[in-house]
């Protein structure tokens, strides 16, 4: 009831819209001109040839692009591999030292704690034995 005036207006606008669409689509003369354009088929053939050439180029360029990527990737991958190898070596050497209880500090360090670690790892000494060794050394030092 209340919507009727709006509906009528909308219907009227729809009819006007349809007429506009039909008017805008009424280009038969232009279509006829286009169909009768000179060398139309020759231009279609030329476009087909261009499209085919572009397709072939795309296929070739695909391979070239792949090669280009490979060329850039190989040095980078080599670098990464070298880094990983160096890292593995370093880790391996580190873990060996830990396993045997020998680190560089064991040779250069002068603290008692270091000595104790070295001894404990090598000979599996008990705490009492370590203590007695230290006491012996101190006694020798006093003499």
């Amino acid at each position: 009831m209340f919507g009727r005036p709006d509906n009528t207006a909308d219907e009227q606008l729809d009819r006007t819209g349809q007429m506009l669409v039909r008017a805008a689509a009424d280009n038969d003369a232009a279509a006829e001109t286009a169909v009768n354009a000179p060398f139309l088929y020759a231009r279609v053939r030329a476009r087909i040839a261009t499209a085919q050439a572009a397709e072939r180029n795309e296929a070739d360029e695909g391979w070239l692009a792949l090669l280009g990527v490979a060329r850039r990737a190989v040095p980078a991958l080599t670098g990464v591999a070298a880094f990983v190898f160096a890292l593995m070596l370093w880790l391996a050497s580190g873990s060996t030292a830990t396993a045997n209880g020998f680190g560089d500090e064991a040779y250069y360090g002068t603290e008692t704690g270091v000595e104790r670690t070295v001894l404990a790892s090598r000979d599996n000494l008990s705490g009492d034995e370590v203590l007695s060794i230290i006491v012996d050394r101190e006694e020798r030092g006093q003499r």
């Binding site: 280009n27 232009a30 279509a31």
Partner: protein, 196 residues
């Protein structure tokens, strides 16, 4: 030559796929008017229509093997699909190019359009069509629609196709075509209200 002696479209497609260039030329001669007519529903300038003809036949040629392989539709229906898609692509390209957008009307054009529309809303349909001689104004107005909206409205109102036929041509679902048509009409109403 008697019409029944002429090779069918399917025979010409097979011959073209086998490398017979003359067969494709025959297909071109046979269907170019129909392609031009479809393009002319969307574009007013001959060079635009010619562009669509070239694009459609090029796409058809390059995809001819897929058609010859297994396609339920006739060559004519298949070519119409390609043409509608080419028109749709061109409408979208035009919308992206600012220099091609004809949406803005100057004051004189807006006044002329308003007068025309006022006259048309009070007149009969036959008067209206004769009154709308200012086709470029109608084109400018429709250029404000989204490509999807314009495509659906043109196929519905200018070509007089059904929802199912439009769905087949565009590859959209029937529901999408209906929703698009509804939205397009609402959008066109909003545009027209400005000038009435």
């Amino acid at each position: 030559m008697h019409p029944s002696d002429e090779p069918t479209d399917d025979a010409l497609v097979t011959a073209t796929c086998a490398g017979d260039e003359a067969a494709f030329e025959q297909l071109f001669e046979r269907h170019r008017r129909r392609v031009a007519r479809i393009a002319s529903r969307f574009f007013a300038r001959p060079e635009q229509i010619e562009e669509i003809i070239q694009e459609s036949f090029t796409k058809a040629y390059l995809a001819l093997h897929s058609f010859a392989g297994a396609h339920a539709a006739s060559f004519s229906a298949w070519l119409a699909q390609i043409t509608v898609n080419a028109c749709y692509d061109e409408l979208r390209r035009m919308q992206r190019r600012p220099e091609q957008q004809l949406g803005e009307l100057n004051d004189a054009e807006a006044h002329a359009l308003s007068t025309q529309l006022q006259r048309t809303t009070n007149a009969s349909a036959s008067d209206v069509e004769s009154a709308l001689v200012a086709r470029d104004l109608a084109g400018k107005l429709l250029a404000r629609l989204a490509p999807d909206d314009r495509l659906v409205l043109t196929l519905l109102d200018a070509e007089g196709l059904s929802v199912a036929e439009i769905a087949q041509l565009t590859g959209w679902s029937g529901a999408k075509v209906k929703v698009r048509a509804h939205r397009a009409r609402a959008h066109l109403r909003r545009i027209l209200r400005k000038y009435l």
